[in-house]
Amino acid sequence: MTKFSPLSEFQATGDGHYQLAPFRFSPLDNERYVITNQAGEYSVQPRSVVAALVRHELKPSDSAYSRLRSKHFLFDSSSTIGPVMLATKVRTKAKRLANFTALHIMVMSLRCEHSCPYCQVSRQSEDRSAFDMTKETAEKALGLIFQSPSPAIKIEFQGGEPLLNFDLIRFVVEKAESINEVEKRSLQFVITTNLAVVTNQIFEYCKEHDILISTSLDGPAKLHNANRPRPGKNSYELAIEGIHRARAALGHERVSALMTTTKASLGMGREIIDEYVRMHFPGIFLRPLSPYGFAVKTKWYASYDTESWVDFYFDGLEYIIELNRRGTPFIEFYASTILTKMLTPFEPDYVDLMSPAGIGISAVVYNYDGDVYASDEARMLAEMGDKSFRLGNVHRNTYAEIFTSDALLDPIEQSFAGSAPMCSECAFEPFCGSEPVFHKATQDDFVGLKTRSSFCYRNMAIFKRLIGLMEEDPSIRELFMGWTR
């Protein structure tokens, strides 16, 4: 008769004969630790298990042992393929670097007919065409854009209000399309607009050229109009009407909206979310104010602290989870970006949460005057007088000069979280970013002291909360899995 060998014959001998793979750990609460491997896989373990693990005292019979082995936190004699698999995962995460810049932001004009006190740009009043990009500048910028090795190119028109320079948008779109007849990349356009000055002809044009619309919606009318003053005091009405018209012209999913949290928003999280649900958006990006432009000048940036924002965020998140439970699918997009890093082998392209920093690599900005900046935030900082992240000018510099400039490479190198103080030992590093622009703006240093960084405080709080929620409730984990991209 057949002879089968018992399980014990296939088991490693144990006795601490395992090798530790590189990993990081941070406390989740008093009792539990989060540990992460290089590929961003995490495991939550009691303090005692982490202690035993590092002392090589974890026994194969301990329930965590097999789990930690299959997640490649430790290697033993039962398998030799672990390091190869871990390496493959790390490569998958880093793959995006090879494509270099995919998102190209062109600032069409600094003019705007809104005068939002929290504006992160330093907009100019409407009539000063000295703040418009010229054709010559746009042409040069396009020349650089198509030198990027990325197979996908996205051109985003920003401002001020870019529609105030619509003729130039048309010029760029058509020129890019004709260049692309030869280049054959995947080419996409986005216009970021407050929809106040949009006409039907513009929608017509967007439809013809497959252009996406991204607009601002801060919440219900009262809040939105208070946040976003314009001559008619009707920013909200124009935005809502614009969204409806844009959807009718372009298709529902081609219109997206962004909110910015002001002090007045803090108590209104649920109403803001309801507004997005009512407008049939698939989700919301709960976004804090950034320390740039008018937001700083008008002291709006300083009007609330990070702690209050985090409370606002968690309350919103809780409400969104509730909505999902009640059968309304709805996503919080910042969480979605982080969850993609936590739960999938992929790396989402989001400039703020990247290390090496996404500046220049993931996105680059061509300002109205031809200056090239490492990110949207970088040009906002420049408008405030700090041109540390100015990489060059489209009229005077070559692609190589711009993308190998010290202004780009120095901050990327210095801020690399894998080796930055605190971050290098932080379990959340695989999910986090390095944000040299933010730290330059707030601490005048590319790296910044993380204990004083509201970026670090905010993200660490969110990482812990997301993991905590998933540990608590498998159904939340399942919901979150569905939020990943």
Binding site: L7, S70, S78, P345
Partner: protein, 387 residues
């Protein structure tokens, strides 16, 4: 359950003549070039004199003898009456043995390439034998040209099909040449593909619709090696999957759920998504109680009802991760409702049955049903959906 093999009697056949592969036909004319392989399937009426072979059933023995006095007859027992035009049988005159190799109407036809295997799985349904069965590959190569070009699917199984080496590639080349539009699915433990040269040779066949179904039983190498009773199997299987995918080949991961594997399903599904995201399909299979499974019932059998939440979690996880995931060989009423849509009717039709409890069930049409072998053990929670 259909009987696929048995004994037949013959007339006008030399008992010492070699085995014959016969394609059954109900046409009155036969192409001269196919006479060696085409047999007229007789159910009464006239017989075309073109045919060298006639195949019929006991019931028609007298009729066929009346209709034709010369030529070769094979008379099959009546339970073979399901046979129809396009089917292919093998007949060994000396042993009077008949085996059905291909049924044109079957939802899946599998060819057994060898009974040898480098695994010794606890639940093997086709227990490996260390025999010299090289003739099987030759026979398959001979049979493939007899199959209809519109054959919807072909399975290659074993033992371990890849260990026969060159003849394995010969079979695939035959399929590529004669059935270019037929998807071919190979059930392999994947280890041979850890050899890069072997994997490359496979990719070079250049068949447009080849796929390999490779079992992976646990994220824990020790459990996997134990289930397949071979140390080092996990590593080679994973390496094989990675090699195949890096060569752009289609790979399905198959997980048989039983007492040794169900606890690790959540971990396994996570492992698959994180490490093997690029595989084309992940399937979770119910246990078929044949072969070694009978010998290992105590260590293998668990009522599927008792692992329904583990299965549900693994399946929902992979679905949420947007991987292509299916559940095979399970009865709908023992699965969590949230994964019903991913359950497929997958039991080969000749093995599929329902039980008395299924009477009046409104979901019978979508239900996977039972292996005929499930009489030995089946879920105690079969309960019909009644509307």
């Amino acid at each position: 359950m259909l009987a696929l093999s048995g004994f037949a009697t013959w007339t006008n056949v030399d008992g010492g003549s070699p085995k014959a592969l016969l394609r059954l036909s109900t046409d009155s004319v036969v192409d001269a070039s196919d006479r060696q392989h085409d047999a007229y399937l007789f159910r009464g009426g006239p017989v075309s004199p073109d045919y060298e072979w006639v195949v019929t059933f006991e019931r028609f023995r007298a009729d066929v003898e009346a209709a034709r006095t010369s030529g070769k007859f094979i008379v099959l027992p009546n339970h073979f009456e399901y046979l129809a035009g396009g089917d292919v049988i093998r007949f060994v005159p000396g042993r009077k043995a008949v085996r059905v190799l291909f049924r044109a109407s079957a939802n899946a036809n599998y060819f057994l390439t060898t009974e040898r295997c480098n695994h010794y799985c606890l639940m093997c349904s086709q227990p490996p034998k260390d025999v010299d069965d090289g003739w099987l590959a030759d026979e398959i190569c001979e049979a493939i040209p007899l199959l209809p070009t519109a054959t919807p699917f072909l399975g290659i199984t074993g033992g371990e099909p890849t260990i026969i080496g060159e003849p394995f590639f010969r079979i695939l080349s035959k399929a590529r040449d004669h059935l270019p539009n037929t998807p071919v699915h190979i059930l392999s433990n994947g280890r041979s593909f850890s050899d890069t040269a072997f994997a490359r040779r496979y990719a070079q066949i250049g068949h447009g619709a080849l796929s390999v179904g490779i079992p992976l039983y646990a994220a824990d190498p020790e459990i996997h090696d134990y289930v397949v009773q071979s140390k080092g199997a996990f590593d080679e299987t994973i390496a094989g999957i990675m090699n195949l995918k890096s060569l752009g080949q289609e790979v399905e991961i198959r997980v048989v759920v039983h007492k040794q594997t169900y606890k690790g399903l959540t971990e396994l599904s996570e492992f698959i998504f994180r490490n093997l995201t690029f595989v084309d399909h992940v399937t979770f299979m119910g246990l078929e109680i044949t072969g070694f499974t009978r010998a290992n019932m105590d260590s293998l059998w668990i009522d599927p009802y008792d692992y329904r939440s583990e299965l549900r979690n693994a399946v929902r996880y992979l679905a949420a991760a947007r991987m292509n995931v299916s559940v095979y060989n399970h009865q709908l009423c023992v699965l969590d409702g949230s994964i019903h849509a991913l359950a497929k009717q997958s039991i080969s039709d000749w093995k599929n049955e329902y039980v008395a409890e299924c009477e009046g069930c409104t979901k019978k049409d979508e239900c996977g049903g039972f292996f005929a072998s499930s009489k030995i053990a089946r879920s105690a929670h079969i309960s019909p959906f009644l509307s």
